[in-house]
């Protein structure tokens, strides 16, 4: 009998050994997204979106009367992230759990000061996944306070990270990717650029619920200055902030956040944003453009615009060494296109070739313009050209590595050649005729 019971007893001992760390699910305060910012110099302002699981209940009796509150946004300032979390825990009746967080947002001021010390916490904390999306917000505190289409702010941000890149003007970055680029020679990290508005302690309502958040009862006293304008912050009237305007009243929603482009870092410091076509010019060159829409003038003197869908794009980079100086980079880009719309009167014998040439010219101009901007103004090798030199010519790289970003990268000559192929025309073939 003892011989039979012993294995069971040992199995029980092994599986119960972790009971010290047991926290029941209903005792967890599940964090959906994390905002990090600097308001007081030398301190970190941590904002947490804490999910209300009751609002997400489906298929049960609870679903009939879902809670109108989908999440709470709590924030605290301290000397470090763990200290701020401890302060938030002091007023949270559940155990904070970051294992389900899917987004980390750096505020612009913090990002410009440098995020290395805070990345250390993010990398060390085992429960925080390395797959979390990293964003940089142009405001001083940009945690999402209003879900859009989906039930939670963090789900909205996660959904945006997955689907907004189809615009061809932004790209998601994970914590793993950011840390990897930070550690490698000759390449600098980027994140998604999000636009947002001030963060307060707020109750986040489900879509469709009253979103007004000005009741003193649901706001903590705000001793922190978070409303002043900072350099690089999008003004309220900026077209990129249109989604903030709700319905016919044009009433701004508080704290709406979405993706607008790419934030470029030099080391752990933010140095600038690339938005709209600028972001696309960068994404072309690094081979991260998944989809995009190009608009070129209709060929053959026809008035109007032709829209072309980019179905895929590939980039081949080569390090060309001539003589003993700084190598040149050869960037060959191939884009496959699909005709998505054309003006009604368009009819040209050489339509295909002209459109391909027009698209290639547009892409080439975009790539060159952004390259010039990054080399001249931002001075940060977010393309990884230095890394290419290091991989292909390690001895040559040693000569230039010390002041690569400031001195050599701006001088780097990049030969851009673009080939565009118009392979498809959608469901209708109206190639050369009216």
């Amino acid at each position: 009998m003892t011989r039979r019971l012993l294995p069971l007893l040992l199995a029980a001992v092994l599986t119960c050994a972790g009971c010290w760390d047991l926290v029941a699910v209903d005792q967890l305060a599940i964090v959906g997204s994390i905002g990090l910012d600097e308001v007081t110099p030398g301190k970190i302002l941590v904002s947490l979106e804490i999910i209300n699981p009751q609002a997400l209940a489906t298929g049960t009796a609870l679903a009939a009367t879902p809670a109108p509150i989908s999440a709470w946004v709590l924030r605290e300032e301290a000397d470090s992230i763990p200290a701020a979390l401890a302060n938030i825990q002091r007023r949270t009746p559940r155990s904070l759990f970051v294992g389900q967080a899917n987004t980390v947002i750096f505020g612009q001021e913090l990002a410009r000061e440098g995020v290395r010390d805070h990345l250390d916490y993010l990398a060390r904390e085992f429960f925080l996944r390395r797959s979390v999306f990293v964003n940089t917000c142009d405001t001083s505190a940009g945690l999402l306070q209003r879900p859009f289409m989906l039930l939670l702010p963090s789900l909205t941000l996660g959904g945006l990270a997955l689907h907004a890149p189809a615009s061809g003007m932004t790209s998601p970055t994970t914590l793993n990717e950011f840390l990897r680029k930070l550690a490698e020679p000759g390449i600098e990290p980027v994140t998604t650029h999000t636009a947002g508005r001030k963060t307060h302690d707020v109750v986040v309502k489900l879509p469709g619920e009253e979103a007004k958040q000005d009741k003193p009862a649901i706001q903590r006293e705000q001793p922190l200055e978070s409303e002043r304008n900072i350099p690089g912050e999008l003004p309220d009237e900026h077209p990129a902030l249109d989604p903030l305007v709700q319905g016919a009243q044009g009433e701004p929603l508080p704290g709406m956040t979405f993706l607008v482009g790419i934030a470029a870092y030099r080391g752990d410091r933010l140095v600038g944003f690339l938005d709209g076509p600028d972001a696309r010019g960068y994404l072309w060159a690094v081979g991260q453009l998944q989809e995009a829409v190009l608009q070129v003038p209709a060929p053959g003197g026809t008035p109007g615009i032709v829209s072309l869908d980019v179905t895929d794009a590939t980039v081949a980079l080569r390090c060309v060494q001539s003589g003993g100086g700084l190598p040149r980079i050869s960037l060959k880009l191939r884009a496959n296109l699909q005709l998505s719309s054309a003006p009604g009167g368009l009819a040209t014998q050489n339509l295909q070739r002209e459109l391909e040439q027009a698209a290639a010219n547009l892409i080439s101009a975009e790539v060159r313009r952004v390259l010039q901007l990054v080399q001249g103004e931002l001075k940060t090798d977010i393309y990884g050209f230095g890394n290419l030199i290091y991989r292909k010519r390690p001895k040559v790289w040693q000569r230039y590595s010390a002041d690569w970003n400031e001195r050599w990268f701006p001088q780097l000559q990049v030969d851009v050649s673009v080939t565009a192929t118009l392979a498809n025309s959608g469901a209708v073939v109206r190639h050369p005729r009216r």
Binding site: L10, G18, D21, R130, N176, N387, K392
Partner: protein, 361 residues
């Protein structure tokens, strides 16, 4: 024998990956893995050759026959002590990683003693029971490895093979340095043949099983080194406590697999508990045979001694990292264990002891 060695290596190599985390091979870690595999396969083949010359006997018996009563006893007990220390090291490593990740508040001794009690029970049941357990566990572990590779392919991770270049940028020494600790681990796994070889039938297949097991797990080690270098980047991978665990933390398939790291930890726990048991069993077999005792008498004594040590002393993660350096631990271990095997082979050959040729029945 093949399964026991493969199992002891796959699960643990999947996490600790010393070829990546120790030294400065960086993008050349995979070369270090290949070097470690080749070197340790040769050394493990020597150990298997030695065991094949004494079918049905462990080191505790044939060391006495070859080297004489007292020297043989000394060598046997020294080897048994090495495996006992490896048992402790494995326990500590298991506890440190578990505390550093999923169970930070659980007292170290609780987890350590739980694992140790299972290991003692497994060792008490003996080699046959562990062989049967290996047949079951290898299916789980291998299945998990296959699933893991599939998940890795499905996950949208930026993977660039350029991360593996430039090759040998820092020369050959960093690669050799990175290979030392994995080679030692492979050797001690292959070295289990000195204790467990006496149970293997037919004996003439022993060498093939041992070398095959080292090569198979070496290929997987190489694969793991490549994966962690590609996904984390060479520098970032080197700084991880457990690179493959960090790779798993970077994988998220929304709606399908939210956290693959917990799956990896479970697999790793299975393998690590199994390895601890095997090391304890080898220490018990060799020392019992050397002292003329029964293995079931020695296992509880070794278990009690291990329990006493782990309760009285718990090293930090930094202590363990310092202990597992290429010098002196790696090279010292390789020379000591490899030296014993080589010495025994030479003496056996000179004295004409044991069975010649391809081994016994």
């Amino acid at each position: 024998m093949f399964l026991i060695i493969v199992l002891t290596r796959i699960a643990v190599m999947a996490d600790g990956l010393p070829v990546v985390t120790v030294g400065s091979a960086l993008q050349d870690a995979w070369l270090g893995a290949l070097l470690a595999t080749a070197a340790s396969a040769a050394l493990a083949a020597l150990a298997a050759t030695l065991a094949m010359r004494f079918p049905g006997k462990s080191l505790g018996v044939f060391a006495r026959e070859t080297l004489g009563r007292w020297l043989g006893l000394g060598v046997s007990l020294a080897v048994a002590l090495v495996y006992f220390l490896l048992t402790l090291f494995e326990l500590y490593q298991l506890t440190t990683l578990t505390k550093g990740t999923i169970l930070p508040r659980t007292p170290a001794w609780v987890f350590t003693l739980s694992v140790l009690s299972v290991a003692v029970y497994g060792a008490y049941l003996g080699a046959d029971a562990m062989g049967r357990a290996a047949e079951v566990l290898i299916t789980i572990v291998f299945g998990a490895v296959v699933v893991g590779v599939c998940v890795l392919v499905a996950a949208p991770l930026p993977q660039s093979y350029s991360s593996l270049s430039p090759v040998l940028e820092r020369g050959v020494w960093p690669v050799a340095e990175a290979a030392i600790i994995p080679a030692l681990w492979f050797l001690v796994s292959g070295g289990t043949v000195l204790g467990l070889g006496k149970f293997t039938r037919p004996t003439q297949k022993l060498r093939g099983a041992v070398v095959g097991a080292v090569l198979a797990s070496g290929m997987l080690l190489t694969l793991f080194a490549v994966i962690s270098t590609l996904i984390l980047g060479p520098s970032e991978a080197r700084d991880q406590l457990a690179p493959m665990l960090s790779v798993a933390r970077a994988i998220n398939l929304p709606g399908i697999l939210e956290r693959s790291d917990l799956l990896l930890i479970v697999i790793w726990l299975l393998g690590a508990v199994f390895e601890t048991t095997i090391f304890l069993l080898v220490a018990a077999i060799v020392s019992a045979d050397a002292l003329g005792l029964n293995v079931t008498q020695v296992v509880p004594i070794l278990g009690a001694a291990a329990a006493l040590v782990v309760v009285l002393y718990t090293p930090t993660v930094f202590d363990l990292r310092r202990a597992a350096q290429p010098t002196p631990t790696g090279l010292g271990g390789l020379f000591a264990l490899g030296g014993v095997v080589a010495l025994m082979l030479v003496v056996t050959a000179l004295r004409g002891a044991g069975r010649r040729g391809r081994g016994g029945p």
